[in-house]
Amino acid sequence: MSDGPDAAALAVSGLRKTFPGQVALAGVGLHLRRGEVHALLGQNGSGKSTLIKVLAGVYQPGPGAEAEVNGTPLALGSAVAAHHAGLRFIHQDLGLVPTMDVVDNLALGQRYQARWWLSSRREEAAARGLLADLDAGIDVTALVGSLSAAERTIVAVARALRGGVSSSGVLVLDEPTASLPAAETGRLFRLLRTVAARGTAVLYVTHRISEVFELADWVTVLRDGRGVLSAPVSDVTHDLLVERIVGRPLAEFYPEPPSPESDDALAADGLAAARLRELSFTVRRGEIVGVAGISGSGREDVAPAMTGAIAWTRGRLAVGGRVIDSLDPATAIGLGIAYLPHDRKLHSAIPSFTVRENLTLPRLRAGRCGWLSLRRERADAQQWLDRLSVRPADTERVFATLSGGNQQKVVLARWMRCGARVFVLDEPTQGVDVGAKTMIYEALTDAARRGAAVVVASSDGEELARLCDRVIVLRDGRAEAELHGAALTAEAIGRLSLAGAVTP
């Protein structure tokens, strides 16, 4: 892809950054060629976020760091200098305003075409031109809130590239697919390849290994603040990347699915809610059932509907033999149904509460006279943190400061503490690093072995194929297919999800 070894769009060397009590970056180097998509891989805590923040000028690097953009030295630690040098950043929080349309969002932070008089026709034409240039096919008058997650990311990319930096610049994306369903990533990848083909260097931060092979030309792996691998993607394998990321040989990555018992723990009968039109399926005790489907198929509504988070318009649910016509979260908890939503900051837990408070919230055990004893609550919470090896195992830590994987473990522990018998998870490993993923899979498998019924709705076919005993594929609000045994493969899930879809 590169025009030659000298065409370094961005070269960084000797990057160090130390926080009190922790070395975040221990001499990292990075070399991006023009027109290259360069993947930066690593677990949470490996230093990739720190690296991006140093590049963006949020953090000052330690002494000895050097950086060049297109051969010109760049002073690190200044956001203004980084911007002038042509570095553009797309953070996970895209910085778009959902209630404004695409035209206004594109103008935000840049400028409108006019200075004194805003002509919506002129602005729209400019925005349309910009998006057409990227072959994005997005209606510029649509509200950003009504766009799909992939389309919103595309708008953010278009805005970052606005102002004519495209060919000599560097575009940095920090885990743009973390909140994107797997089925929607294809569009974003096509766009990024278009951008790279024009000479822009793209630095793509991720922890989804499959994306590296799908998208990138070159891959750099960080672990513990050091670069442990930097190689062309054609020279590496999936297993090699996992080994380098985790730092140990690839052990049993996905545990064996448990063998289900005979009796039904949960049976949905003709449920209709939001985009679900008529959903019927059963889950036995000790079984892990996956729910697949493209976005809009109703997959996103399965977990909320099964747990009372959204109301049903029709249908019934049988839980452990009891038939229920309507459900709210408190009732669901009483029936032993646990819900792990995909949006941990908004729905799973209260970010500003401590780990302890989040753990005990659904079932607060007061002592005499209704007095909540902090000491007893702490001991109770500590025991659960140890059991699921949450790091740090500190009950008084604010929930928001935990990594994604540890947050998910805390929420899992919360429901185990309540003695949940049915676990309903929505995208359980979204935004979770490889190591914590294994822990979550093990915890789920373990819960199933103890007789719990587990429902996992996920856009990651690979995950479903390896974790589940059975997978139900939704299309248009209905369960259209069921896979199990040898037929249960990621490929089959993908094929059945898309079957009959108007646009892939």
Binding site: P20, V58, P341, L361, L372, A400
Partner: protein, 368 residues
């Protein structure tokens, strides 16, 4: 710098301090001295020392101590109620006019209709709680934002007050059984201060050491997450608003008893000091949370500051200026402190601002 980049610290800082953000690891001398948690107490001590040196003859007297303790007891009781509403994520802007209304009702009942004081008090409390119930229903059942609901209610109450008092008649001449409510001073301690201490202990238990209080705080801190954890969030908001109204009503009755007359503007003077104290309270003791002892510290801190300035010859406007500055400073400190600690912007009362706001993911249905 593009918008995406300029929002970097927010987006980046929110979830991944696992990457080594300085927030979680730094524990300095200041923390060990409790400077952050107890800064109000230090400032309070500073006020006392400064005034003691500046105006020893007027400031360092038993009368000053008694008047600060008694005057602020009513502010304190009203503030304790407001803490419950704000902790549940609901603003209550109607408590100040409700305080006036309670004063008018209890006063008129005793003087104009000669109702026995006990009955008048009971009826007034019922009326005050009814206002809280209406606020609560407007917010939880109809779904109006608490700011709008209580602002509208506040205006309605003002109309009732004006109608009843014919635009500002003073009422006096209460039975002794009523004025005795606020006047005793056992061992020189104003009885109002004793009421406040008792109320504070009850509120402290309810908010900070009972399952109910935890659920109430969870509702204010994250209404969706709390609901999905099985909390009846509507009930919590409802109870918070009723508690605020009940406390304001009791405050109205006590102030009427204390000053022995009804003034149609008595409540207005409480609006700002109470809000200032509750918000300043979130920077004390349990930082980042609406909490009882933080509120109490804040009230006496503000009162001492104002009292000293008044005794030192300050004019009437000094009280308003002081309270206004204190409120702005308190909330600024709370917000800055939160940004430095966690990076995520979880403001006190954040639940209010986030309530029912559309989320940016269209694939997600609003839980109804």
């Amino acid at each position: 710098m593009s918008v995406a980049a300029s929002q970097g610290p927010v987006g980046l800082g929110a979830g991944d301090t696992g990457d080594g953000g300085p927030a979680g690891t730094r524990r300095g001398l200041a923390d060990r001295l409790g400077l952050a948690r107890l800064s109000g107490v230090y400032v309070w001590a500073l006020f006392i020392v400064v005034y003691a040196i500046w105006i020893p003859h007027t400031f360092l007297t038993v009368a000053t101590l008694q008047s600060v303790a008694a005057d602020q007891a009513i502010t304190g009781i009203v503030a304790l109620g407001l803490v419950f509403a704000l902790a549940a994520g609901a603003f209550d802007l109607s408590f100040a006019t409700l305080l006036t209304m309670s004063s008018v009702i209890v006063g008129s009942m005793m003087t104009a209709w000669h109702v026995p004081s006990a009955l008048a008090i009971l009826a007034t409390i019922c009326a005050g709680v009814a206002v809280g119930v209406i606020n609560g229903l407007l917010v939880t059942k109809v779904g109006i934002s608490s700011i709008v609901a209580t602002l509208g209610m506040s205006s309605l109450i003002q109309a009732v007050i004006d109608r009843v008092t014919n635009g500002g008649e003073f009422v006096t001449g209460f039975p002794a059984s009523f004025t005795r409510l606020a006047s005793p001073e056992p061992f020189g301690i104003p009885v109002l201060a004793i009421y406040l201490v008792a109320a504070a202990f009850v509120a402290w238990y309810l908010l900070e050491h009972s399952p109910f209080g935890r659920r109430l705080q969870a509702t204010g801190a994250g209404v969706d997450a709390a609901r999905l954890a099985g909390v009846n969030t509507d009930r919590m908001v409802f109870v918070g608003l009723v508690a605020s109204s009940a406390a304001a009503t009791i405050g109205g009755i006590l102030v009427t008893s204390q000053i022995g007359s009804v003034s149609p503007t008595i409540g207005t003077g409480y609006l700002l000091p109470v809000f200032a104290a509750v918000f300043l309270g979130t920077t004390q003791i349990k930082v980042g949370r609406f909490n009882i002892w933080g509120t109490i510290v804040a009230i006496y801190l503000l009162a001492t500051g104002v009292k000293g300035l008044q005794l030192g010859g300050g004019e009437g406007w000094i009280t308003d200026a002081f309270n206004g500055v204190a409120l702005l400073l308190a909330v600024s400190l709370a917000v800055i402190g939160q940004r430095r600690r966690g990076g995520s912007r979880i403001l006190p009362g954040g639940g209010v601002w986030r309530r029912r706001r559309a989320r940016s993911t269209p694939t997600e249905e609003k839980p109804s």
